[in-house]
């Protein structure tokens, strides 16, 4: 799997991602405070709960072995006095542009909890961005351990407060109020939305909403009136009374926490596809047969890492997860993915739900397009099982993707098992999507589908679902010669 480029914005050190995990170089001068933080009770407690990435310092022998085995030889050789740490590997990194609002909200919650806990230990959180958080299954893990620095006792300001507002609160607000997708925000804005951008979206009376005043309107008005060249604004403030400074700082976390609670996504969000499991076109027998077939394929092949593409609210993802697989479940409908995340959280299932449209998958973003690799780059070789159920007709009709291309992509997404549902043009859902363009798919039949699959897969078993125009294919990827 191609790895993201180094994280380089923090002057205290750099982070590289390898096959084994992440490697962090910390400048010699910053090692004592970094190690002190790792020994704090807050760091140990959050790491024990799996909410803070586990970090271990490497000795010279391990560094030499790492230099030889990874592509980091030159970076490690030129490290000077920097200490080298290794973080545990978080499987399948995901980015805020792929999260439903529920996951961004959860990442914000963890950021505030950690900021508060660090404050009690005399540390401050020096940045507050969702890029500091990855998800292990449905659970957030704070991975940027270098974000913590010892704080001045009399400092009453939380400098990343504006960043927290930009990258957590305002995207959640824009999503809830104007339906702006998080993918639209974070694909093009690394740091979220500026208050001025949101201010322009607000109607005049909305700008006076008590919740929007401190987050959007007042910062916008103050920015307009302030002298941008006045350096004094940015000078550190120090209070003589450290207890008072901490009280003021705690009140910042309280206010951010209240704003975040207000923006908590509603439990029941509706979309065109959120009710699919209740309204689908299968009869009871056909759906039971589908469940049995997929369950058999999973039980026989026992994939450890499954991609469920077009997962809807995660019915078959849950089936795979209950069988012991780590599942990445994708769907283009954020409401469905949000519901899936709630389900995974509630049932303790190892499912990472992501908002990804397989026809327009997440592109690579960031500096030189290397900070966040594309979805397909991350997916290549990452799964030994792929489910594509009830998806084929969307790709064929809505996205106009040729059958051979779809079979080729399915082969790229798995190293072993694939279960694909063939949907014939006579199927009512297929016909609904064609909107009078049925002739475009006149040549599509099961034989054409089987031929397209045969280029990449062995067909192990098929099952025509009773009373439907659908057939399930259990496929095994051919070994490349």
């Amino acid at each position: 799997m191609p790895q993201p480029g180094p994280s380089f914005r923090d002057p205290m050190g750099r982070c590289y991602v390898t096959e084994r995990g992440a490697v962090r170089l910390v400048g010699a001068g910053d090692v004592p405070q970094f190690e002190c933080f790792l020994k704090t009770r807050a760091a140990r407690d959050f790491a024990a709960k799996g909410q803070l990435v586990v970090t271990r310092r490497l000795d010279e022998g391990e560094i030499a072995a790492l230099a030889a085995s990874s592509g980091l030889g030159s970076a490690l050789a030129a490290r000077g006095g920097a200490a080298v740490y290794e973080h545990e590997r978080i499987p399948f990194p995901s980015y805020p542009q792929e999260w439903p609002p529920e996951m961004l909200w959860e990442a914000g919650q963890l950021t505030l909890e950690l900021g508060r806990a660090a404050l009690a230990e005399g540390y401050g959180l020096k940045d507050a961005t969702p890029h500091n958080v990855l998800f292990r299954g449905s659970k957030p893990v704070f991975v940027d351990v270098l974000s913590f620095e010892r704080r001045e006792a009399g400092d009453p300001l939380w400098k990343p407060c504006a960043q927290f507002i930009r990258s957590f609160l305002l995207p959640l607000l824009a999503n809830r109020r104007w339906g702006i997708a998080l993918a639209d925000v974070f694909t093009t804005h690394r740091d979220g939305l500026e208050p001025e951008e949101v201010y322009r979206l607000c109607r005049p009376w909305e700008r006076l909403h008590p919740r929007l005043l401190p987050l959007v309107s007042i910062p916008t008005w103050l920015t307009r009136r302030a002298d941008p060249d006045n350096e004094a604004i940015y000078q550190p403030r120090r209070m003589a009374n450290a207890e008072k400074a901490r009280y003021v700082l705690e009140s910042v976390f309280d206010r951010m926490g209240r704003a975040l609670r207000w923006l908590q996504p509603a439990a029941q969000r509706e979309s065109a596809w959120s009710g699919y499991m209740e309204e689908h076109s299968y009869n009871e027998g056909a759906f039971a047969a589908k469940e049995k077939f997929v369950g058999e394929a999973l039980a026989a092949f026992k994939p450890g890492r499954v991609l469920d593409a077009g997962a809807n609210t995660g019915h078959f993802s849950a089936l795979a997860a209950r069988g012991g697989a780590a599942v990445v479940a994708i769907d283009s409908d954020a409401a469905c993915v949000g519901a899936m995340w709630r389900r995974a959280q509630g049932e303790g299932l190892n499912i990472l739900p992501l908002v990804v449209n397989l026809a327009r998958p997440t592109p690579a973003t960031g500096w030189r397009n290397r900070e966040s690799p594309s979805f397909l780059e991350r997916a290549a070789g990452a799964f030994d099982g792929a489910l594509m159920l009830g998806l084929l007709h969307h790709l064929l009709v809505t996205e106009r993707i040729p059958l051979e291309e779809i079979a080729g992509l399915a082969a790229d997404l798995t190293t072993g098992l694939a279960v694909i549902e063939f949907v014939a043009p006579q199927d009512p859902m297929f016909r609904r999507l064609t909107r009078g363009r049925g002739e475009l798919h006149a040549a599509l039949d099961e034989r054409a589908f089987a031929e397209a699959c045969a280029a990449h897969f062995e067909i192990i078993k098929t099952l025509a679902l009773p009373g439907t125009q659908r057939t399930l294919y259990w496929l095994k990827k051919k070994v490349a010669r």
């Binding site: 990343p160 960043q163 740091d191």
Partner: protein, 70 residues
């Protein structure tokens, strides 16, 4: 101490945080005074009750404890 916060602190948001910080700082003293008053009154009231039960009343001239001692 080196300060390595490298993120954009915003402009309007930073000013707003400073203004709110001043107000919350005043609240800090108000709360502390209220707490101190509550404790002091509580102590006076308790001792007064004891005195009413036959205990020795405190000297009326005794100075209240300093805020920092509480």
């Amino acid at each position: 101490m080196r300060v390595l916060a490298y993120i954009d602190p915003g402009l309007g948001a930073l000013i707003w945080q400073s203004i709110i910080g001043v107000l919350v700082g005043m609240l800090f003293y108000l709360r502390r005074t209220r707490k101190w008053m509550g404790r002091w009154l509580g102590r006076v009231f308790r001792i007064g009750q004891k005195a009413g039960n036959g205990a020795v009343a405190p000297s009326a001239n005794k100075a209240p404890p300093k805020v920092d001692d509480l």
